[in-house]
């Protein structure tokens, strides 16, 4: 949780960096961290479908403000450069980013964070919407994350008809491989994922004895953290952020 008091010194460095991603590609990433020697926990923020955009940069800085080494890889790097919405539109028109590509980029970000002398060697993964799904997938298919947050990740439960060469397996199929505690934040009025799909995921988590914490918010739909979108819900968002930082605090701010 936020430990800032008015008598403290606070400083932050936020900048674009590069790191190795999928297939050995060097991709760019947005890195925000508190000033000081740490050690600090880390978090990888996988950007959502609207792009590697201003909201994700703000959120990356928010994590740094809360004492995290926060790194958001540009998973859209291979679609070229331009305004975030143009690049995201290019990705959308190309059928999106392949799951393997996102996983490779998330793994590169994880390795960078864990390698830093400032790191307490505990790193979480965070995502919203399409990247909520990818955060869950990362926590299942990659080894090394210590906590994961899936905010309203759509299509964690996919029908056979929805599978594509870029997304060949429904993420729920990987639940047995989930390697860290999972926090899920969802809206009752969301259609993707709808409450029935969230329930299916929860059943799988229970079946395999996984550590998880799900919160289903009434009077909220999809993307209720996004203050610039019509789906923003102030009360639910404030509570969601509290739960998120308590969760990451519990699993990331201790060294083992």
């Amino acid at each position: 949780m936020h430990k800032y008091t008015t008598d403290m010194y606070e400083g932050m460095l936020a900048e674009t960096v590069t790191h190795q991603g999928y297939g050995g590609d060097i991709i760019n990433a947005y890195f925000a961290r508190p000033l000081g020697s740490g050690p600090f926990p880390g978090v990888v923020l996988i950007p959502h479908m609207p792009g590697w955009d201003e909201w994700y940069r703000e959120t990356t800085r928010k994590f740094a403000h809360h004492g995290y080494l926060a790194l958001s890889p540009n998973i859209y790097y291979r679609f070229g450069h331009g305004s975030p919405d143009d690049v995201a539109a290019k990705a959308r028109g190309s059928g999106g980013v392949a799951d393997d590509s996102v996983l490779g980029d998330a793994e590169g970000a994880l390795r960078l964070l864990k390698s830093l002398p400032l790191s307490n060697k505990r790193v979480g993964v965070f995502g919203t919407c399409s990247s909520g799904r990818q955060a869950f997938l990362s926590a299942c298919r990659l080894k090394g994350f210590d906590a994961a947050v899936d905010c309203w990740g759509g299509r964690v439960v996919m029908s056979k008809e929805e599978l594509t060469p870029k997304r060949p397996v429904s993420p729920i199929e990987y639940t047995k491989d989930l390697s860290c505690p999972l926090l899920g934040l969802f809206g009752e009025e969301d259609e993707n994922p709808n409450p029935q799909q969230v329930q299916l995921l929860e059943q799988e988590l229970k079946k395999y004895g996984k550590t998880y914490e799900f919160h289903m918010y009434p009077k909220a739909g999809h993307g209720f953290f996004y203050y610039d979108r019509p789906g923003y819900r102030q009360e639910q968002a404030v509570d969601g952020w509290k739960k998120l930082f308590a969760f990451f605090g519990k699993y990331l701010e201790t060294t083992t």
Partner: protein, 85 residues
């Protein structure tokens, strides 16, 4: 993508983007979260030139009702011009 609903078609013509006119070679039609329109989901149409990078785009984000009106308007205009195909 959140919904994964996208249709693409090859097109020919021109579009005007922030840097002026450019040749179009594809249109991408999706139903997904918009960037600007005040809707949770929108019918997004992106006229693009794939060879010229992400900025070669003319994008619109419409409500489903507006998109249906657009389809009818296009078909009506083509019909009045006695065109087919």
């Amino acid at each position: 993508m959140c919904t994964d609903i996208v249709e693409t078609a090859e097109v020919s013509g021109s579009g005007k983007g922030p840097r002026g006119w450019f040749k179009l070679d594809q249109v991408n039609v999706s139903y997904d979260h918009p960037s600007d329109a005040s809707l949770e989901h929108a019918l997004n149409i992106d006229f693009v030139n794939q060879k010229e990078g992400p900025s070669a785009r003319v994008g619109v984000e419409l409500s489903p009702e507006s998109a249906r009106k657009l389809v009818i308007a296009i078909l009506n205009a083509l019909s009045r011009a006695n065109l087919s195909g």
